[in-house]
Symmetry: C2
Subunit: 430 residues, 2 copies
């Protein structure tokens, strides 16, 4: 080989060493076990789809600039998935008549977007997608809210550090059409500005709206809208479906005793396909994490791109990077430990088969057991077990074999006892 | 939308519906839990790497014809990973000085190869990679053998249906260099032919060797080699390191009581980087599955492409498709069941909040609980629970609320009892 290759991963991606994997798995296992507790079922889709599936949603930033798309060796236009929803829609459209509604489905998978890597945003990311399909009423939203709150509780997240912000695209429609009477083109631009309102700040936001040639009256209406409360929505409940639905949603959430949910008129969601409720969750206890932990909403015309009738749908995509950042900010990541329970050193290669027999017995008893595979210095073997945080070391040399006992060392206290194998198993398992 | 999109997944890939996902997870969870039982640690690598990482191993079929490679929006030559080993090597080379050897690592991830889809082979596949790094002696091989046999035991695989076939690249080197005295070019061609020996059959194999202009003596030597047994290896043990190692390996395997392992001189493995032991596992109880369930071997010069010194390594890549096919052939896939334990119907939307409160209580007790979200006909709700294989239905209407009881229905027997919530929880958990 003439040129040495770089040992860095591709830009915007990460190598996950075992220690980091334990943290990732803590997040993924929590997402998954809570989803199962609510009766959601796991599914999966290919990582590659024909590009047309993403292009179909025109006006979408992802499809135009962030897509990893290319031509395969057979001339097919394909892309690595940047999001789950189009694939989910395709899967459901393909088997619509065989599926019993509602579907409560989740997936934890990888995604690729060509973006500028920065805090909370990478080119490769893992996302939980959790969706309810076939429920037209707000009980779908409430189910997902309950799921989210159950996950946050499992994460031991302090109540004052997070907030689910809720809005309705119908309410925005009412603003754009009935109050502002905007053209389609301006709707998109004003929409993007509102989406960035928190980031831009009021001044830059107003400046931008002026550039769009909005009248002072229009700008004031927008600012008034962005300051409106749930109370204000009651005044327009008979004129706007969005207002009516939001009032109903918050009333039902209160009845269920749900917390950490707030109406926020600036929540917009970039994607073209949302209809009705849109939500995002933020860290509100620190300034470390300005990005949403997840976003989602209702998208009832999911199947139209396959020429099929409407299917009510509500779901969220919950990112790994922002979640890990949030958990780190609040010291909520559990101390990383190995899954291994006991380590068996090796003093002499002649004892290898004997040690393996003991290890096999321990594994049969459900004890995760690692054995030393080469007879090196005992001190180094102990260091290895200690570095890997293995809680027990079971020492077996000629003396122990003759005495039909083992030395069991507690790696935390340093205590060491000569006991029978059965006693050792009992101690390790307790 | 003018044109309806296709609902088919991209060629050679599969949509995984929840029912199939349960089967996949059965395989993945088995791979993972047994790996943890042996003290292996999980890691992960990006799905995309710079193409150079795959091209570096010249002479490799994967890199030249099967790679999904393309240029990203920033002009970088990248590829979707077709195998794990180059990424694993990169990760280790990057942190060599921080890592305590040996490393016992595993990953379960997705891979892409541009191939003709057929039984046991798809363009997208999931593979377990399990490797031991830093052990130069045969104890690494023996550890992986024990892992494989423990997985097969966990799968309840009948002993007479599978076989690990073992060879050594050093033995092949001895054949090519000392016996046949082949040129480098012919070595590669003869190597590929030997790799296909079982598929080709003797006649076509000999024909092909004649085309390569091998002498009759050479051809006879090859045929003799392909018929050689472990006993025959003893005759050349002082001339060939490969023979010596294989004899030692089988002696140690016998000492450990390992079964289902056989010396097979035709095992070759296509990849360029193997050094020493090579293995493959086959279904030997049926003709359904001609492809190897996994393949692997020793690759001690793993880090040379990063300009680093040798690191002993032994590992296998175990495919999902062939494994699922094998398990299906022998009826070893457990009956698919939902993870949900109980279903709560809804008779009137007014009871929704009450039902949710009960559900929350059940989930807190660790019971996976699904609730009906819209009040439809009771019969349809029961049908849904039955179709999803949920074992219990907890019926709560006005009468039950007034009586402070619940109706608990066993969906298998049809038996239904009016009991307290506590009694119901006890029954469901038992």
């Amino acid at each position: 080989m003439e040129n040495k290759l770089s040992t860095s991963p591709y830009k915007g991606t990460t190598d996950t060493y075992p220690e980091d994997m334990l943290t990732n798995n803590y997040i993924f296992d929590t997402w998954k076990s809570v989803a199962q507790r609510f009766g959601f079922e796991e599914y999966d889709t290919p990582l590659i789809e024909e590009t047309a599936l993403y292009i179909a949603k025109s006006g979408d930033e992802i499809a135009s600039t962030q897509l990893y798309n290319f031509v395969d060796k057979g001339g097919r236009e394909i892309a690595i998935r940047p999001e789950m929803t189009p694939s989910l829609a395709r899967m459901i459209a393909a088997k619509k008549n065989d599926l019993t509604l509602p579907l409560k489905w989740f997936n934890i998978g990888k995604y690729y977007r060509y973006e500028k890597p920065q805090r909370g945003r990478r080119r490769e990311f893992i996302q939980l997608n959790i969706d309810i399909l076939g429920i037209p009423t707000l009980e779908a939203e409430l189910e997902i809210f309950q799921y989210i709150l159950a996950v946050m509780e499992e994460f031991k997240a302090p109540k004052e550090t997070y907030e689910i912000r809720v809005n309705s695209r119908y309410l925005l429609d009412y603003l754009f059409e009935e109050i502002l009477r905007l053209s389609e083109e301006k709707k998109a631009k004003v929409g993007r500005a509102i989406d960035n309102y928190t980031k831009l700040g009021k001044e830059a936001f107003v400046e931008y709206l002026k550039e769009l040639e909005l009248t002072e009256k229009q700008i004031n209406s927008i600012l008034e809208f962005l300051n409106s409360t749930l109370e204000d929505l009651k005044k327009i409940a008979d004129k706007s479906d969005g207002a009516k639905q939001l009032i109903e949603l918050f009333a039902k959430a209160e009845e269920l005793g749900l917390t950490n949910i707030r109406f926020e008129p600036s929540i917009m969601r970039g994607l073209a396909y949302y209809t009705g409720t849109v939500i995002e969750m933020f860290d509100i206890g620190s300034k470390e994490n300005p990005r949403a932990l997840f976003g989602g909403g209702r998208y009832d015309d999911l199947l139209s791109m396959f020429g099929q009738e409407e299917l009510p749908a509500f779901g969220i995509g919950w990112g790994d990077t922002t979640t890990r950042d949030y958990l780190e900010t609040y010291g909520l990541i559990p101390e990383t430990k190995t899954d291994t329970k006991v380590f068996l050193p090796l003093f002499d290669i002649k004892l290898y088969a004997y040690i393996q027999k003991i290890a096999k017995g321990l594994r049969t008893k459900g004890i995760n057991t690692e054995t030393q595979l080469t007879a090196i210095k005992f001190g180094n073997q102990l260091k290895y077990a200690s570095k890997k945080n293995i809680p027990w070391v079971m020492i077996i040399g000629e003396d122990e074999i003759n005495a039909k006992k083992v030395q069991l060392k507690n790696m935390e206290t340093g205590e060491q006892n000569l006991v029978t194998l059965e006693e050792a198993i009992e101690t390790i398992k307790s």
